[in-house]
């Protein structure tokens, strides 16, 4: 059993210059067989393993990761957490996650720096106003906190926004979810990894899946660069590379993978103490604890796995940022990067069984998966353990594309796509 992190362990380790901290997780070689294998060591995959071990008493689990844990979209997102989605199914899913976030640091004994600083969504035209007001009402009917703010209230809540009526896309108001906020994304991966490892989960990094072995309609195991691993249950949480794994298994998914970009500025003193998002002009911004402005840009419109993204997308976002926040005009941008997001036609995720027995997919989170990490892991673990979805993710099955029962969240997704 691992030592708990606490004020006492911090003091104790300071006496030895912090050189004797226990390793947070092991670095094991894969065993020949596991009860379940999770493909993908990002936040969602590690959370899945954690809840499988914790709540469903399946301890013989491996998480296989092509690179290093949290090196994919978990470490590339803009860390925004909210649950103000329009439809009942999404509200249930994302608010389940938000409730888990509220207690996550205590649950996994790892400070994920969850900060409920509020998320504001701006309206820039009459249709935005109608849509966002409708969304506020829908949220409140589902027990999710949401308020409508007038232009003056927006200005009061975040004084640096340019609310002048003569800008190209004036601010006509906005919505605010106060329980929403941000968290430190790396800590989420590390915390779940440490928690899962302590319960016996093998986290195997630099282990790339090369093939899925099937016997008819049942899975038998995975081929990796570290050899064959036998298992009866495979949970795929591979984000942008979900289709690559699906193609190995011989099934098709309704996904397209596209680069989504973000960038951060040089660090400055505290200037914005909330998260402001704006779908219509495609700009959102918050400030990290280090002082960097964290800016989210859009997706490229074409399929690509390059983890870069196009310059014109960043340019468009920064134009909008500068008009909304003239105070940022002389800021220098420090870093820019891209992550590959897997987008469903209805902008909602898939947490589902497949036509192959023992093969489960958790994918399609598109541009907004980070916020759902704890809930996604919890519900996917339930689905894998029971071979049946939890009622909160029943709507997010693959079959909805056949039945037509889609969960259209284009309006509430962070990024217009």
């Amino acid at each position: 059993m691992k030592n708990n992190y606490s004020i006492i362990s911090l003091l104790k380790n300071s006496l030895s210059y912090h050189e004797n901290w226990q390793q947070a997780w092991r670095d094991p070689e894969p065993k020949k067989e596991y009860d379940a294998v999770i493909i993908g060591g990002g936040g969602h995959g590690l959370a899945t393993a954690y809840y499988l071990a914790k709540k469903h008493n399946i301890k013989n689990i491996a998480v296989v990761e092509k690179g290093w844990i949290g090196g994919g979209n978990t470490g590339r997102n803009t860390t925004i957490i909210r649950s103000n989605y329009l439809w009942d199914a999404s509200a249930g899913l994302y608010d389940h996650a938000l409730k888990l976030w509220e207690n996550l640091s205590q649950e996994i004994n790892y400070n994920v720096m969850f900060s409920q600083r509020g998320v504001m969504n701006l309206a820039h035209n009459l249709q935005d106003v109608r849509d966002l007001k409708r969304r506020t009402h829908a949220n409140r009917l589902n027990g999710i906190d949401a308020v409508w703010l007038s232009t003056e209230e927006v200005k009061k809540f975040c004084p640096i926004i340019n609310t002048s009526p003569d800008i190209r896309y004036p601010v006509l108001g906005g919505t605010l979810q106060r329980r929403a906020g941000t968290a430190r994304h790396d800590a989420v991966a590390w915390g779940y990894a440490r928690g899962a490892d302590a319960m016996g989960v093998d986290i195997i990094q630099n282990c790339e899946v090369k093939g899925i072995k099937r016997n008819g309609d049942t899975v038998e195991g995975i081929e990796t660069n570290k050899g064959f691993i036998k298992t009866k249950k495979i949970g795929v949480v591979a984000a942008g590379h979900s289709s690559v794994i699906a193609n190995m298994a011989g099934i098709r998914l309704p996904l397209e993978s596209k680069p989504l970009q973000a960038l951060v500025s040089e660090p400055v003193k505290p200037i914005i103490d909330t998260v402001v998002m704006s779908n219509a002009v495609h700009a959102y911004v918050s400030q990290s604890d280090k002082g960097e402005l964290v800016i989210g840009a859009g997706t490229d419109a074409y399929v690509s796995y390059t983890q870069r993204g196009s310059h014109d997308v960043v340019e468009g976002t920064l134009k909008a940022i500068l008009e909304l926040y003239p105070i940022f005009s002389r800021m220098k941008m420090l870093r820019q990067w891209g992550g590959i997001v897997d987008i469903c036609p209805d902008a909602s995720p898939i947490i589902s069984k497949t036509s192959i027995k023992g093969l489960y997919f958790n994918c399609g989170w598109g541009t907004g998966g980070f916020k759902a990490t704890p809930g996604s892991g919890d519900l996917f673990a339930h689905t894998i353990a029971n071979d049946e979805p939890h009622k909160l993710n029943a709507s997010f099955n693959i079959n909805r594309f056949v039945s037509g029962d889609l969960v259209d969240e284009h309006g509430a997704a962070a990024v217009a796509h």
């Binding site: 289709s243 309704p254 196009s310 056949v402």
Partner: protein
């Protein structure tokens, strides 16, 4: 971000074009006779290949014509461009 050679206008920046997704998905001749599974497969399911992919592009801010592109999605390198109705060039 890359350069696409439009078969009608020549080399242009990618931002002039809009992507039309996977190519050579034939619209069913008798949609009414398809099962729900077949219709879903036509409408939603995609190969979404990491590697060499056949896709459609439209020169939206140029001649506005559609054409096909063979592109490696892992590095955005374009292998070939060919017009609608033409057979893909054999490598």
């Amino acid at each position: 971000m890359f350069i696409i050679t439009c078969p009608f206008c020549g080399e242009r920046d990618q931002s002039e074009f809009s992507a039309g997704g996977e190519a050579h998905i034939v619209r069913p001749k008798q949609p009414t006779e398809l099962s729900d599974d077949e219709w879903a497969d036509f409408l939603f399911m995609r190969k979404n290949i990491k590697g060499v992919q056949f896709e459609r592009w439209n020169h939206a801010h140029g001649c506005r014509k559609w054409f096909n592109v063979i592109r490696d999605t892992s590095n955005d390198k374009i292998h070939a461009v060919y017009k609608m109705g033409e057979k893909p060039p054999v490598k």
